[in-house]
Structures are given as structure tokens and as C-alpha cells.
């Protein structure tokens, strides 16, 4: 499974980000969310969801081999990570996050809470083989 964004369904409410922060950190604090929602206003007047589709660029470029694929998601090995930040730079979606509460970069662990919480069907979990559709 992996996450897929259906941008045209997004209304920018940010429910996904708050659910992410609560599920992963037990914090009512969207600044801790591991996905972004971008409102493009006044023009063109729409939303773009930036989330991790587990593409593996972070892992491929990690000089310490500290990001491993486990149970369907790339996970940061806190012991091996040196915090060099290369993964943040290479992430094509801007969803490797540097947060003051953590000394290693943080990323989506594919818990699926954003998809469960989204009231718009704008973030969905799709099977790997269907992920290229649309």
C-alpha cells in the first residue's frame, strides 16, 4: 500500500496534518505533521498535497545507509543517522522534515492516519500495483 493524493478533492482544511501530528506524536500541533498542503492563491486557486509515496530517493541518497524499507515504508534508523540533511535536500516532494523536537529528519511511516481522517477522499491508500493509475 501507499498514499496517493487526489489534489482536486482537497479543500485545504488541514484535517490530515492534525491527525498526523496526533497519531505520530500525540501532539495537537500541525507543525509536526509529516505531509504538507499547499494553497495556491489567488491564482491558480487550488490545493496541492505533498506527501511521501515511499519513492526511496531519501534512502538511495543517504550516505550513512540509515534509511531502510521496512513493512512497506522507508524508516529512518535513529542510531545510524548523523543528521547530515542530504535526504531533506533530495526529497522530491519536500516531505523529509527537520523538527526541533528531533535530532534526526522525520518522515511518513505510512500509518495511514491522514487518509483515514481526510473528510474529502483527497488522500487515499492504494495498492502498490494500482499506484500508477491516474
Amino acid at each position: 500500500m501507499k498514499l496517493k493524493a487526489v489534489h482536486e478533492h482537497c479543500s485545504g482544511c488541514g484535517t490530515c496534518r492534525l491527525a498526523c501530528a496526533i497519531e505520530n506524536f500525540r501532539e495537537v500541533n500541525p507543525a509536526r505533521a509529516l505531509l504538507r498542503v499547499q494553497g495556491r492563491f489567488p491564482a491558480p486557486g487550488d490545493y496541492r498535497i505533498h506527501l511521501c509515496d515511499q519513492c526511496g530517493e531519501c534512502s538511495d541518497n543517504c550516505p550513512e545507509d540509515a534509511i531502510h524499507f521496512e513493512d512497506g515504508a522507508f524508516m529512518v534508523d535513529r542510531g545510524a543517522c548523523t543528521g547530515c540533511g542530504i535526504c531533506i535536500e533530495v526529497c522530491p516532494y519536500g516531505v523529509m522534515f527537520e523538527q526541533k523536537q528531533s535530532n534526526v529528519p522525520l518522515k511518513c511511516v505510512l500509518c495511514g492516519e491522514c487518509a483515514r481522517a481526510c473528510p474529502r477522499g483527497a488522500i487515499i491508500l492504494v495498492a502498490e500495483q494500482n499506484s500508477e493509475v491516474a
Binding site: S11, E27, V28, R32, Y47, R116, P119
Partner: protein, 635 residues
Amino acid sequence: MLAGYAGTILRIDLSSGILHKEPLYETLTENFVGGRGFVAKILYDEMPPGIEPEAPENIFIVATGPLTGHFLPASGKTHFGTKSPATGGYADSNLGGHFGPALKYAGYDVLVLKGKANEPGYIFIEDDTVEIRPAAKYWSKGAITAEKMLKEDLGDEFQILTIGPAGEKQVRFACISHDFGRQAGRTGVGLVLGSKNIKAIAVKGTGSLPVFDIEKAYAKGMAAYQKVMAKPGFKGWTPQGTAGLTNWANEVGVFPTRNFQTSYAEHHQDINGKAILDRLKITDKGCFCCPTPCGKYGHTKTPRGEAYVEGPEYETIALFGGNCVLRTIEEVAYANYLCDELGLDTISAGVVIAWAIECYQRGILTKDDIGREIDFSDLDTVIYLLNKIADRQGIGDILAEGVKTASERIGRGSDHFAIHVKGLEWSGYECRNAPSMMLAYMTADVGAHHNRAWVLGHDLAGSWTSVHDLIVSGGEAEKQPKGVVTDKCAAYVIESQNVRPVFDALGTCRLQMMELGFEVENYAELFYFITGMKKSWQDLLEISERIWQLTRAFSVREIPGFDRRYDFPPPRLYKDPIQNGPSQGYFLSEQDIHNLLTWYYTARGWDQNGIPTKETLIRAGLPEVAEDFEARGFF
């Protein structure tokens, strides 16, 4: 620390630049909850009596509620309070979007501004950092343009409030804008920011809110989304939002047209919710954590220009498409855009412009007075007058005072059709066939605004008690019976007036309850899991009544000679029958108006001048106000 709240009141004296952060205190949260409750209490206690709304001594409050920013449907409300530029009495106005949650994540439940900055500035808040920064480059820019510039300068993660040129130029119906299309539109709150030389407030918050029981709060919040989305009205309400009311309002004859001379628009199919979906809409645009986004963001093209714009919402459709008779949704949306950019409330602007057009048609205003010919159904008229108003040029300088003051200055009987109560222009519902709704407008604490109580369902069909039922029923094509003038009207109004402040105090949107029927008990439970404070819905209603009594007391204190005349509608609405449409011929008599007020005052515990009695103030938990009133000789 108080769970649910951020825990701090931020005070800024703009004259001296001195900042002060003080802990939120428990007597305030216990007795007034938040949002509108905080606004009412702080205004009454801290506003020096008798000062002008535009004076530096006026205070400007931004207040969130305990549920603002938490995980539940539509928890994004922010309230603004001040002495009203529209009425001289109590004012609040609120908006959705994302500002209030961001303010709380930065650590502040409430922001209180007083004084006046020496030069144009904006308030910068990033967690603990609070600064007043120069705003010369943003000053005189449109509200949307200024927001875009600030986002580019500060970063997209900042949530921003702006005023437009109308706020800078002290127009009495200047609004506050946010999120490229959300406004705190009513009561002229934008004037007060402008009078303080404040162009914008930008906030970024990265902190966490404390929660009493996060596991239960999160589970309850998640269940609340499911319940809201399972309501029968969910799929009916969301696609068109408030614009979905347009057809119904015409079918039952409550759609104000031609400055409330008529109550039906022949062209309503060209300015309704479906027209927005077919011809304008790009995306749904939701407020913080909202599953039912009213906002329809789109693009409009007219022969006079094109624009990206959020809306139009029902009210803008009613006041520009109905009251000013703009013929297409594209024209209504363009007027909407101009108001947004200039920083004008679309409701008041639509009333003021329609009044000016009627004055011109009756020869009360001339081409020389105005600078050109003006007419209904003419986008050029609307564009011309909006720009004149925002710039306070020529006739615009008088119109910028609002319809009450403008009619007093122009005279010649024009007050007969100046459609307002207490100085706030009437929003988008005709009421000569609807006595309960008429009473709701008359007694609304901020002036003639529908959001204090919406009781048309009681007037137009006894069994209809929610907008959802009305939408599902589709209205009636045949003539509705006129609503019955009875003492029950007062009970309907008071019930609605007591329910709504609870949502405004909690910091959530009321639409999930009002439009979809999401049960009120859910809010009491969420309130407990988030704050740890045990209050039943009935307890919250008692606080709500306290807020209502307090805002009334503020207006009694601030408006010299306050009596029942201030609760009267304009003469047109009780002397002239409706001229066309499904409610043709209907009107309420002056005696009906007096009867409605008498029943209402009695039920509220007010004397027959509409002033709360000592016993009422004490019963409502406001002994300090009773003492103040005694000292001022109000009893």
C-alpha cells in the same frame, strides 16, 4: 495550565510599543468560555466608556475559543471585538480559515490591541517573538494583494489578516480579510485596525495545545467527523454551500431586491449555487478542519474585468444579485472580488449602493451629487460606487458612513428606505412575511445581522426548524402564508440567540449543528475531553445567556439614550407592503413591531425600553454590571 487553551493573553499598546503577556485566568474561562464570551467580557471591563470607535482608546480584541485548533469538525473560528463603528455599541465579527488555530499554536488565546501605531505597521507573531513591523510597502494595497505580498515575504506557513484601502480610509463597513477570501465582514472591524495604523497581523505557531484526555478527545473528534458526514444533509449542503439557499429564498419570497422594495429576483437561476458550480468554481475551499466547505473558489469574467474570487456566498448573492439586481453570477462574483480587494463588507456595501440608487431614482440624489447616472442592474454603477466609497471620494465620502448616517445627512425622507437596525445594514432576508426573523434582526446585538438568530423556518413553515429541512423540501412554489405574529416569536428568537453564542464561545463553526443537525451534546463531550471542564449543554447555554445580557449591557452603556427605538426596523419594513413575488402584499404593522418587542423584552427580563433589569443581570451572573448600571442611574 488550562487544558484546551493556549494559556496566554497577549496585550500590545501600539502607542508605546509595549507588549505584555499575561496568563489566561480561570474566572474568565469558567464564566465566559472563550471567543465571543471573551470579547464581551474584556470589552465591558476594559473599554473606557464613551470614547469614539476610531479613537486610539478603543480596544481591538482577537479571541479564540477552547476548541479552536483542536481535532473536531470545523474548529477554525476567530472572533474580533471592539466598539462598533457601525452602531457605536457592541461589535463582534468572526471568520473561519486558519488564523485562530495558528494564534493558539503560537501560544495565545487572545490578542488585545490598544493605542495607535505612530506609522503604518503590521503585527508579526512567530511563537514567542512578537514585533510591530513597518508596513509602508503594504499600505494602500488591496487586502488580497497585501496578503499575497506578506506570504511571499514571510513564508506560506504564516496565517495573515489584512485590511484593504477601505479600512485605512475609515469606511464604517470595512472588513478584515484572511486566506484569500474569508472575511470578518460585519460591524466595521476593519476600520478599527485602520484607525490604529495596523495593516495586517501575521502569525506562525509551532507549539502544541494541552489536552485533558488526548486519547478520548481524538477518538471523539474522529467519531464526530463520521457522524457529520453521515448526516442526510451532508451531501446536500456541501456542494453549493450557502449559495444553495438562493432558489429557496426566491421561492418563498424572502430575497431582497431593489433596496428591499421587492422580495423576488426573476433572474435568480442565473445567480444561484448551480451557476457558481457551472460557471465559476475551481475548487472547494474549507476552513480549518472543516468537512463541509462552504467556500467555492473560482474565476469570473465580465466585460469590465476578470478575477479570482472566493464566493459568492448567499449573502453576497442576495445583496448584489438581489438588492442591486446584478444579472449574472459573473457580475455578482466580480462585485464580490472588488469588495474583497478594497476591504468592504459585501452585505453593507450592497445595502448602501441600493439605497443610493433608489435615492437617485427618486431625485433625492442627482447626477451632480454622484458624478454620473446610476441604476440597478448595472455593474458599472457598482464598480463606480465601491471605488468611491473605499477612497472616500465625492459621494463615496457620505456613503462610507453607512446607510444610517448617510440618510440622516441627505435627509428628504431617505431614512424611510435606509435598511438597517442601530446603524448596521440589513443582511439578505426580507422579513415583512416573517415576524420571528424580523424580531431576530431587530434585537441582534450587533445590528441587523442574520447570524445571531436564524428563525425563518418557524415563520414560513411551522415544522421547518433547520436550513437542511428547508433545502430538502425545496421550498414551495405557491404563496407562503405570512408568519403569525405571536408571543412564540420571542421564544423562537431567544432560543436561537442562546444556542449560537455557544459555538462562538467554543471557537467552532455552528454550521455542522445548524445545517446538518450534528447533535449539540457532542460539543459538551468534546469540551470535557479537551479542557477537563465539566459543563453540560445546559450549562453552556447559561453562559451563552450571560454573554447576551453582557453585550446588551455594553450597548446600553455606550449608546446615549438607548431605548426601544434602537431596536426598530426602518419604516419601509413596517409601512410599505412587499411589491412583488410570492410574498406580495405582506407587511407587519407598527403595532406588530411593538408587540414583538414587548414580548421579547419581557421574556429576556428587560424593561420596556429594552434595558436589562437589576434582577436579570444578577440572575445571569453579572452582579458587577448591575452595580455599574446602578451607579450610572440606568435602573
